[in-house]
Symmetry: C2
């Protein structure tokens, strides 16, 4: 079989004890992952040895859950600040990309530009910034706010925040610093560019106090799926992480985003779309299902019911029989479509409350694949080859076992099919993703 | 000689190419230090092998110099963001303390609390926060401000910022996280403490999403010398970095700070006072002076005159003969006392402009010691034993040579006198400094 030139991009989405809500209770899970730096060193090195494009960290600027009973039974209340963690991991890895989420809602662009520029220097060009807006009131409460700004305002701020950060990253030409001891000229002031940004949300003069980064600028990643999110991503994102349940959804999103690019003078290859995949791998289908059931059995009903109550819009289901049907629900202020989809699903499949929460306990809205290396590779290949994805962000159910399963079982199958690298081709995150190094002053 | 129980505390104040303004031009200086992570790894390991209590980084949220000619000839325009750098260094060191400066003027307390708490976890209890206020307008211009808030307001914000950060660091009891797989109880909600801070500058609900740190909380360091700075330090600082020119100044400051402590229920030992020392070491006095002259000869007059112009309050001296006397100066808005001190010095010693700027080119207001290991040890010992210091922050003229000189020549002499450790006694920065691990809920 000849090797196809287009290769899958793979991210290892690391998240404390694992992506399954009960993953921390798995016998092989590292229960204290949230405060165990050595654990992350092992995961990062595992992902690097497996030639993943990047490791990826989500973020939340606070403890989101307000349901104490559920909070007590999940591993979501403590975690390392992702840039601090990634900077430390940069020192003990050589090649793998390092992507951290930082919200535009509760930071200043100068600080964010500086930190990612520094990380890019420290790591030799491996930094990526996952630009998000924050949508949780409990986070807003940690930043002087009683309520979140509305969705539109958050996205306006995010767009301007992005532009300020990119402008600051372009403060210096690549060769601005001769550092010539003999003449005493450290920098060439002709190659210094002061930003002088004055916008609706920010006034930032610049320049940045970090030289231009090895990969021109850090890679910009996004995850927004709303209309505002898609439009911002089409203009500015280089990588998009996204959650889909079905191939049809993935294909529609992929076509939609790639279709928006020409409007901004961008080409299809300038943006890599990477859905999240929650894999449970067994050597047989039965073994995979058994592994999944083992995790599902660990979901405490208090956690499951609170999760479901939250997802369907804040309706408290704790008073109902967990093994009975979903009650008729009042209208709520929550996201209507998610609530209706779930309730319709429960009615159609005659699901109990327990059965319904188990449907969402694992992949948190991402595609859940429970199968053999062959069947999982089949699905990834279909999405990849038929217009659903440029790659995937792998969300292991628990760590480290869920990730080693994917590495040991699925990656060899993908490699056999010529879909994934056996060695890094380049040194920077842009090299891995096949993204061009931008010229200074060229903005999306 | 019996070993005295009280031991010197020593910090290695790392700063790009070095503390001397022309240090980057020294033949042995690492000219690209500002973007060379390996250089910092070597310095951190050198300091750790020498058993320094900590490495220390200053910070500036922008390029401060507005004089382009001088900016072009100094290595002060690019540097790593200190927390990013320290996090990376945490991964390649084992014992040495890690102190970074973060300004209270341009950050949010929740973010700062999180980052230092994360660094403390990652490093196994070695983090310290140098709490400062920012005093440069060019920094304010990067954070939506046309002017800095006034001095009093900056200190009020700093004091409240400190209290919020300490409150967040106390969000969880030490044993709040049983993480018990069998029962499914990850955390004990009785051991969670929500802050609910509402003050003049900040509304922060909490809790912090990082568990209590290995050393209870990171060490709080300060450097303010004004009346407001001293009072804040007396209440809140555990370590004070300070600049003195003479032993009398050091002694007066030391007595003043230690005298303020009882008012806050604190003891003399609860705060370590560490003046900066700029050492130039030679095996003979003549060799030391020759080394210093070599550095001084590298100061470009454009840099020297701009530095002097800035220090005397913004009066432009570039039109005057650099080898002529200081002209009569108009009254300015700058800090009067510094201007008068320098002009008085120039008049008294009949200094030219060049001679005067060379007086301030090295140590930037800190004590400059040019001498033999014995004479330098004599001075450190006098300050230490006669009420001027609990230790020193060592500011090498250039890196790595200026630091290796101190390590190879002065430290053996200090050890011979029983003044400095030969091995770390403990694991955390608090252990090194001899600071108590605070109980949760005990605030300064």
């Amino acid at each position: 079989m000849s090797k196809p030139s287009r290769q899958l991009r793979l991210g290892a989405f690391l998240m404390q004890t694992g992506h399954h809500i009960a993953g921390w209770r798995h016998p092989d899970a590292q229960a204290d992952a949230s405060r165990n730096f050595r654990h992350y060193v092992e995961l990062a090195r595992l992902a690097e040895a497996a030639k993943f494009d990047a490791i990826f960290f989500a973020d939340s600027s606070g403890v989101r859950s307000t349901h104490l009973g559920s909070l007590a039974r999940t591993a979501r209340s403590e975690f390392f600040e992702p840039l601090t963690l990634l900077s430390a991991l940069a020192a003990v890895t050589e090649r793998i990309g390092l992507i951290a989420t930082v919200s535009t809602s509760f930071h200043e662009p100068f600080n964010v530009a500086r930190k990612f520029a520094s990380l890019d220097q420290i790591s030799g060009g491996r930094a990526g910034w996952n630009l998000v807006t924050s949508s949780s009131t409990s986070e807003a409460h940690n930043f002087n706010l009683d309520e979140l700004p509305d969705h539109a305002s958050r996205y306006q701020r995010a767009a301007e925040f992005h532009d300020v950060v990119l402008g600051l990253w372009d403060s210096w030409d690549d060769d601005a610093f001769p550092r010539d001891k003999a003449s005493g000229i450290y920098l060439d002031t002709e190659k210094l560019h002061v930003l002088e940004h004055r916008g609706d949300f920010f006034k930032v003069r610049g320049p940045l106090n970090v030289s231009r980064s090895p990969q021109g600028r850090p890679v910009v990643v996004q995850a927004g799926a709303s209309e505002s999110g898609r439009e911002l991503a089409a203009r500015t994102a280089e990588v998009i992480f996204v959650a889909h349940q079905t191939f049809d959804e993935a294909k529609a999103f992929y076509a939609d985003i790639k279709g928006r690019l020409p409007r901004y003078g961008r080409e299809a290859d300038d943006v890599k779309i990477m859905p999240g995949i929650f894999p449970v791998v067994g050597s047989t289908q039965a073994e995979a299902e058994e592994k999944f059931e083992q995790l599902q059995a660990l979901v405490d009903p208090v956690v499951g019911v609170a999760l479901l109550s939250s997802v369907i819009g804040g309706v408290d289901l704790s008073a109902y029989d967990v093994d009975g049907p979903i009650p008729d629900l009042p209208e709520t202020n929550g996201p209507k479509s998610r609530q209706h989809l779930l309730v319709d699903l429960a009615r159609r499949d005659k699901l109990t409350i327990r059965q319904l929460y188990l449907r969402i306990a694992g992949a948190r809205g991402h595609q859940q694949v429970v199968g053999t290396p062959q069947s999982i590779a089949d699905q990834l290949q279909q999405w990849f080859e038929e217009g659903g994805a440029d790659g995937f962000n792998i969300m292991a159910p628990y760590f480290p076992g869920g990730l080693t399963d994917f590495v040991d079982l699925v990656l060899p199958e993908l490699r056999r099919r010529g879909l994934f690298r056996t060695e890094y081709e380049g040194r920077t995150l842009r090299d891995h993703f096949g993204l061009k190094r931008p010229a200074r002053g060229s903005y999306p």
